[in-house]
Amino acid sequence: MKKMTYREAVRGALRDALRGDPRVFLMGEDVGRYGGAFAVSHGLLGEFGPERVRDTPLSENTFVGAGIGAALGGMRPIVEVMTVNFSLLALDQIVNNAATLRHMSGGQLSVPLVVRMATGGGRQLAAQHSHSLEGWYAHIPGIKVVTPATPADARGLLLAALADPDPVFVFEHATLYPSEGEVDESAGPAAIGRAAVRRVGDAVTLVTYGGSLPKVFQAADRLAVDGIEAEVVDLRSLRPLDTPTILASVAKTHRAVIVDEGWRTGSFAAEVSARIMEGGFYDLDGPVARVCSAEVPMPYAKHMEDAALPQAAAIVATVQEMLRRRG
């Protein structure tokens, strides 16, 4: 095990993938000479050359589509889209091609494509660089959506995405890149579709993923001071979704709060809430609660952005209110 940042863990996985499989190549905006907008691919151009670390024009729809075509042609492309907001320019290729080609061709085609992108707010980048749209992507059958929250998962889920025969979208929350954790550099792929219980507790289940995990840990620590032990479920994968792990935790704690940086309306939190209602209704002692982003385009000013995003204080307050109503 080695302590490293999330950024280094992604880079290490990319390097291992490029070394281990000649079909793998990386392409995207500024992944080469610039070293990646988030410095993830720094140094890879020098090591692997411009054939395998390819700077693209600012043509998101076409370089994602080219990734699809290259995957059909026998390659294992990793496409980096700088941020989730930019990925909207590639929605045609993602929704109409990557997600459909296998089913629509009667199973003849396979699209082993990996698309990575940064997501989320918290860096004062305002309303065109800060949104959390992974919940939208999780709506689409035919693709898989993973949301690594730790450096170990940043490695394991990226390697899993590469090993997968279907298109996998990896959402890396931009505030996580400098975060540190222990990573086993010899570890292979993680399992896509398996949630992890990150903290064991009995008072309430806090369900979250990606960039909200550190905030949920903060909230759980504060609650523990008052003797409230929260169980933390990190989804890791939004599609497929590990419903059994969520329901098992709710069956134990009888309460659930879902923390999701997406907007509340139509959010992924709404999906998790529905799954709990469908599969765990009689285990619940009260209504499921959600802590989501305020329903505004992300503002620039720090105090306003902080107010728009889910924060540990709001998670704590939500749990306390839920327990107070217990009577």
Binding site: F25, E51, R54, T56, P57, S59, N61, T62, F63, V64, G65, A66, G67, I68, G69, A70, A71, L72, G73, G74, M75, P77, D92, Q93, N96, N97, L101, R102, H103, M104, S105, G106, G107, Q108, L109, S110, P141, G142, K144, P165, D166
Partner: protein, 325 residues
């Protein structure tokens, strides 16, 4: 006048064009009888484009086409029965009945759709060519699209990326003068499509899409250039569809006289006249050809009629790859 090609090849071209036309006429008829549903975009009038173009490609080359792809699919050699069955929605269709008229696929013939988002096939073609380049394979990816696609960002992005990376893509613009119902002059500030390539430092040419030999010669030349490593090429093929855009089109946007003018340059009639001139065919040959094609079309319908429906239990099969556990 001396024939520029041999008789066998000439007859093969004629037969493919006639097969497409009769197949399409039958498809139109079956649509009105409710056997085929959804959208149906007939290729009648444009046969010389698919047939002429497809002569230039080897089995290793890749084809990416549009939702008006019946002609390309037949010319590529996908069995007519598999195509008709696909339009019926049967499990013996070339896409197991999941795609219908707009989404023919046949990986064994490197036929990658059947794309019904205008312009959506171009980036995929660029990627297929990128895979060939990265694996040092000398193949061509032929990408068909209509004049409507020229207005899409994907057209411009794809031409740029293919040219920037010198990828072996042959962009084949099948210009039938209408983006659904909007005439070229009503959606393009520059109506000379081949000029678009200049902005991307890409060679381009134009050919008469009603003349099968002109199409074949132009596509062969362009394909050899692409195959030789010269990078992508844009070829505009000027043609015309006689039928409505789709089965849902009342054709309010063009006059019957315009359609009649184009029919005067019908690709099958033009080519047949030349074959007569060269002494390659006479009336009995043509009658025999029609009989033989009619038998093929009937056989295709029989394949579709006899085909099984995919079991509903398989609805979600192949959304993802089934991994053995």
């Amino acid at each position: 006048m001396t024939a520029p090609i041999d008789r066998d090849h000439a007859l093969a071209l004629l037969r493919q064009m006639v097969l497409i036309r009769r197949f399409e006429e039958k498809a139109g008829e079956l649509y009105t009888r409710g056997k085929i549903r959804g959208f149906l975009h007939l290729y009648i009038g444009e046969e010389a484009v698919a047939v002429g173009a497809m002569q230039a490609f080897t089995a290793d080359d890749a084809i990416v086409a549009t939702y008006r792809e019946h002609g390309q699919a037949l010319a590529r050699g996908i069995p007519a029965g598999a195509l008709m069955a696909e339009m019926y929605g049967k499990a013996n269709g070339c896409s197991r009945g999941r795609g219908g008229s707009m989404h023919f696929f046949d990986v064994s013939r490197r036929f990658y759709g059947g794309h019904a988002i205008v312009g959506g096939g171009l980036p995929v073609a660029v990627g297929l060519a990128l895979a060939d380049t990265l694996q040092a394979r000398r193949r061509v990816t032929a990408c068909f699209f209509g004049d409507g696609a020229v207005a899409e960002g994907e057209f411009h992005e794809s031409l740029n990326l293919a040219a920037l990376w010198r990828l072996p893509v042959l962009f084949l613009c099948e210009n039938n003068l209408y983006a659904m119902g909007t005439a070229l002059a009503r959606h393009q500030s520059q109506t000379d499509v081949r000029l678009k390539a200049q902005a991307y430092a890409m060679p381009a040419d134009v050919a008469d899409g009603m003349d099968v030999l002109a199409v074949e010669a132009a596509v062969r030349g362009a394909a050899e250039q692409v195959r030789g490593g010269a990078g992508p090429f844009l070829l505009e093929l000027r043609t015309y569809r006689y039928r409505a855009h789709s089965t849902a089109d009342p054709e309010l946007y063009r006059g019957k006289d315009e359609v009649e003018q184009w029919k005067a340059r019908d690709p099958i009639a033009l080519f047949t006249a030349r074959l007569r001139e060269w002494g390659f065919v006479a009336d009995p040959d043509l009658a025999a050809l029609e009989t033989s094609v009619a038998a093929d079309v009937d056989a295709a319908v029989a394949v579709a009629e006899a085909g099984p429906w995919e079991p509903v239990e398989d609805l979600t099969k192949d959304v993802y790859t089934q991994v053995a556990s």
